[in-house]
């Protein structure tokens, strides 16, 4: 009985505490940079697409909302198409964690309502942004050992020249 009265008193005191609500459309809430919102595809600092269509994101996706097709151009791999069905996406961020090249990233934007469900299927043109996202300096082809036009094996950052296995000299 006494505890009920105590509860009443504490609840009454909440009348004089400030509201925690953020009046959303008038007042935007603070969203951390690592907030898991709309998914984007980023480019490396040189302006090339980061995605190498390894399909790891599509595999990691628990709701199977990502689909893509690999294509190749001058030794680099690109997605021919890259499609995310946002009406299925649960914004878990597994794709971002799976991505070996920091290409797929989640952004602090959640305002993506549509009247037509079909409009929630985003194609590569809708997903690809011109910036680098959360990792401004990373460039996959510059740190990987893969040879591409303009960069041979051994010329990547922190990479020693390849060892000539036929030379016996130490």
């Amino acid at each position: 009985m006494l505890s009920s009265v105590r509860t009443l008193w504490y609840t009454f005191l909440h009348l004089f505490q400030p509201n925690v609500t953020v009046q959303y459309p008038d007042e935007m809430p603070y969203l951390a940079p690592r907030y898991r919102g709309r998914i984007v595809l980023t480019r490396d600092p040189d302006g090339e697409e980061r995605c190498v269509s390894c399909n790891l994101c599509a595999v990691a996706c628990p709701v199977d909302c990502i689909s893509l097709q690999k294509t190749e151009h001058e030794g680099r791999w690109y997605p021919e198409f890259f499609r995310i069905n946002f009406s299925r996406c649960i914004f878990c961020g597994f794709c971002e964690e799976a991505c070996p090249t920091y290409a797929i990233q989640l952004t602090p934007d959640f305002e993506m309502s549509e009247y037509n469900r079909q409009n929630l299927v985003y194609e590569k043109e809708d997903l690809l942004i011109s910036g680098t996202g959360k990792y401004p300096d990373y460039n996959f082809y510059r740190v990987s050992g893969l040879a591409i036009p303009g960069k041979d094996k051994g010329e990547a950052e922190h990479e020693r020249p390849p060892i000539d296995v036929r030379a016996l000299l130490p």
Binding site: S4, T7, L8, Y10, T11, F12, H14, L15, Q17, P18, N19, V20, T21, Q23
Partner: protein
């Protein structure tokens, strides 16, 4: 032509009184949601109109334009009758409240207290019949809980009133308020006041005693099948019920319209309003008791206490005749 004038004035009084009641009951839905919001550190409905006050209108429009649906398995006649009973009984009971000697519909009724008890007794039918006619297991369970709860708590409520009636020597609410000119009856009848208020919460089946509705176990209890304005009528009935219990507590225990400086009707309004806010605080703070605990609390604790209260009041009145 004097008689028609009187009748016209009486009708005008009734119509204005009921319109006022309905408006306040509608506003109360907004007040409750706002206040509940503040108790929970959030603003509540604040988008429609200034301070969100037009939420009332928005809700009303929504309820009115919903399809008026009667389930095919329901007993149609009784199904329609039940919400009407819910609203009519509390509004009739509201008629006997004297806000001031001049304001009120029949504030001077010589069996005022009994009329209130009679109407709250008839109010049971609304929930019982709603539960039965919905022809749905959860509704029926809600209706049966409501019947048991309201019939039981009516007893304690009536008995708790008797202390006041004994002190005032009248069932007339205006006389009862006059009797509190020097001291509010809440002082000599503190126990009676508490028990009356608890009984009032149970009568209006408000939280924490909303066992007939019990969302967590019964869906929505007796009004599971109701939608649109019939559902709205239950709600208007419930809110007028809150006002009724608050106003009755004010009249019986808190000195009615008596108070310094401010005009009488303002004192009545302030006291009633604070009690209504207390109802909302109770809703915000307390969990619902289990059904058997609730009935045991009534019959094993409140009933002996009320009887003791009457006994002691009577004995003191006999022993100290000068004080009354």
């Amino acid at each position: 032509m004097s008689v028609p004038h009187e009748i016209l004035a009486g009708l005008l009084n009734i119509v204005l009184g009921l319109a006022f009641l309905l408006v306040v009951a509608a506003l109360l839905t907004w007040v409750e949601r706002r206040l509940l919001g503040f108790f929970q550190d959030r603003p509540g409905p604040n988008r429609v109109g200034p301070f969100g006050i037009l939420q009332v209108a928005a809700d009303g429009i929504k309820l009115l334009f919903k399809q008026d649906w009667i389930p095919p398995f329901a007993d149609a006649g009784v199904f329609v009758l039940a919400p009407a009973i819910a609203m009519v009984t509390v509004m009739l009971a509201m008629a006997i409240i004297p806000a001031t000697p001049a304001i009120g519909i029949i504030g001077n009724l010589n069996i005022g207290v009994l009329f209130f008890l009679a109407m709250s007794g008839l109010g049971v039918y609304s929930v019982v019949l709603a539960g039965w006619s919905s022809n749905n297991k959860f509704s029926l369970l809600g209706g049966m809980r409501a019947a048991a709860q309201m019939v039981s708590y009516e007893v304690f409520m009536g008995l708790a009133l008797l202390g006041v009636v004994m002190l005032a020597g009248s069932f007339n609410l205006t006389d009862i308020v006059h009797g509190q000119r020097h001291m509010w009856y809440v002082v000599p009848q503190f126990l009676g006041c508490i028990i009356f208020f608890l009984g009032g919460i149970a009568e209006t089946h408000r939280l924490p005693f909303d066992l007939p509705e019990g969302e967590s176990e019964l869906g929505a209890g007796f009004h599971t099948e109701y939608s649109g304005m019939k559902f709205g009528m239950f709600f208007v009935g419930e809110y007028i019920g809150i006002m009724l219990v608050s106003a009755m507590t004010t009249v019986l225990f808190l000195g009615g319209w008596y108070g310094p400086i401010l005009p009488p009707f303002m004192w009545f309004g302030i006291k009633t309003g604070l009690l209504v806010c207390f109802f909302i605080l109770l809703r915000a703070a307390l969990p619902r008791p289990r059904y058997d605990q609730f009935m045991a609390f009534g019959w094993k604790l409140l009933l002996p206490l009320t009887l003791l209260n009457i006994l002691v009041t009577g004995a003191l009145m006999l022993g100290l005749p000068a004080s009354t």
